[in-house]
């Protein structure tokens, strides 16, 4: 997929664990892991809003469009 999810980067910058973020935004760790690896088909605006609020960031900090690079390359 051409949309890269940079959630790992933001978590590292904010020094927050995945478990804490999952708890803060109300989704399971499993779903958060799928989101980080880009293996989801979509993200609800509500979820995106909660992530941005928890990490004090913008959606653009989390999502990147890279047409020629698959998600695996980003990891």
């Amino acid at each position: 997929m051409a949309i890269i999810v940079n959630l790992d980067v933001m978590l590292a910058k904010r020094k927050m664990r995945s478990k804490d973020l999952a708890e803060a935004i109300g989704i399971t760790e499993a779903n958060l892991s799928l989101l980080k690896s880009g293996k989801v088909k979509g993200v609800r605006f509500e979820t995106l809003e909660k992530i941005c609020a928890a990490l004090a960031c913008q959606p653009g900090d989390l999502l990147e469009y890279r047409p020629d690079a698959p998600q695996d390359a980003a990891e």
Binding site: L34, L35, V40, V43, R44, T47
Partner: protein, 179 residues
């Protein structure tokens, strides 16, 4: 009480009813063919036009008729067992699972095949029940009643519902992959 909880409860009850039907139905049918006059109160509708199921029909011919009747009844039992599996899956919360859709398709198929088998078995059944009659009094009957048409319509309706459920399952799966 939440909707999923209500679905689980009702489904569990229906699954027990379906399995009870699958067990009780053949017992009642066999009893009706072996003791037709004593079981008339059950009113299972096994009397065929011009070919009544009664004690005066010799037992061996009643057993032949029972073997013929076993085909549509077997299909009905197959359908009831599939219905039991379907409601068990609903009770376990697996409403849109592939297994549930397969069970639903089996239920739908069993409705169609039951009506067809019942229609095709009518003639040999009536012949078996009148085989011991004097010459000139043997009966071959067949017919498609309003009840059969209603069941066929129900089968068609459930077929469409099955297609809708398959689409709902696809949407549910897609929705699960959106966080």
């Amino acid at each position: 009480m939440s909707a999923p909880y209500r679905i689980a409860g009702i489904s569990r009850a229906m699954s027990w009813l379906a399995i009870a039907g699958a067990v009780v139905l053949p017992i009642l049918i066999v009893a009706t063919f072996i003791y037709p006059d004593q079981t008339r109160f059950l009113n299972l509708g096994l009397n065929h036009l011009g070919a009544p199921l009664a004690d005066h029909v010799p037992l061996q011919w009643r057993l032949v008729a029972l073997l013929i009747e076993a085909i549509p009844i077997g299909i009905a039992i197959w359908g009831l067992l599939a219905l039991h599996r379907l409601f068990r899956l609903f009770a376990d919360g697996k409403i849109f699972s592939p297994a549930a859709l397969t069970a639903f398709k089996t239920v739908t198929a069993s409705v169609f095949w039951y009506v067809l088998a019942a229609f095709l078995s009518e003639a040999p059944l009536s012949l078996a029940l009148t085989a011991a009659n004097p010459p000139g009094q043997h009966v071959i009957s067949f017919g498609l009643g309003l009840g059969d048409v209603a069941v066929l319509f129900l089968g068609g309706a459930t077929l469409v519902i099955g297609r809708v459920m398959a689409e709902a399952a696809r949407l549910a799966e897609e929705n699960e992959s959106i966080v």
